[in-house]
Subunit: 181 residues, 2 copies
């Protein structure tokens, strides 16, 4: 048992959407006092770090409604019910970028925002890429961009790359480049 456990006293589902579920829980804190927790439940997601043969990073540019702007991200998507993260990573990569990959390796998984959400993101590294045609859902609008690592670092500076998984991915590629030198 956890020393700091917060026991659920009651739980109320406020919203049950297509992507997220919002639950508000009354909890008992370790000192016996009461508090509330607002929890956004999410099915989980996958993201793929991939470089072309000439070491360019594969990014997708898309509009993100919560931010009211376009940003560049590594290929990613939410898990479908019952889907294995690895299959999901291969599928998202192929749908969004057209690239099929000979191999994907799990790199790391992390909660994106553990203070209020249970979204778990699984990050993969794809290799042995073969270029093909993207096949997007009819409600999906995005464009592929392949950029040098130095350009990606600049894109972080000027906020064209502006999300956790992609900033992490670029830092990972920096680290790999340094290690291989």
């Amino acid at each position: 048992m956890s020393q700091f456990e917060e026991k659920t006293v009651s739980s109320k589902t406020i919203f049950n959407g297509r992507i997220v579920q919002l639950v508000v829980e009354d909890v008992e804190l370790p000192n016996g006092s009461k508090s509330k927790r607002e929890i956004v439940k999410h099915p989980g997601a996958v993201a793929v770090i991939a470089q072309t043969d000439d070491q360019k990073v594969i990014l997708v540019r898309q509009y993100r409604k919560p931010l009211e702007k376009e940003i560049y991200e590594i290929p990613a998507g939410k898990l479908e019910p019952g889907e294995e993260p690895e299959s999901s990573a291969i599928r998202e990569m192929e749908e969004e970028t057209g690239y099929t990959c000979g191999s994907v390796q799990h790199l790391v998984s992390f909660y994106t925002s553990p203070g209020f959400s249970d979204e778990l993101l699984h990050v993969y590294v794809a290799t042995d890429l073969v270029k093909g045609q993207p096949h997007l859902d009819e409600d999906e609008f995005l464009e592929i961009e392949e950029v040098e690592l130095n350009e990606a670092l600049q894109m972080i500076q000027d906020h064209r790359i502006y999300d956790a998984k992609t900033v992490y991915a670029i830092q990972y590629l920096q680290l790999i480049q340094l290690t291989q030198k």
Copy 2:
């Protein structure tokens, strides 16, 4: 104007909580078709990467209700209304760990989960630390842990460290260590 812009047709606030607000928007996609977006609004947050004089990473262990478990994270907290991210970083660091810092430098900011939330996290690096006593809110329960970088890497493997900002922070420290060699 963005090529892929999704225009808001109507917007409904489902929940207005202490931390998050949930909004559902009817949007018009670039091809004219309609869709819905579920958006979790968040005040934003700060996190602090800090090492002790003997190069140990400062982590806090706390219970995260959305995950129903304890994890180790770098010191962090949400922005208070009107608060500057830098002041918030210094305040959170001091409250949670007792350490005051001679200097904080902004490292990067990123959206934690741009698919469904506008939470923007500002990451700082704190230096010139002076140890003091933590002063937690009465509803805040956490414990400080100072670990070697190698131990932190092991903690990522066995999911004691399990969140985006902390995984990013550890990778940053790896990168710095390699660059300085």
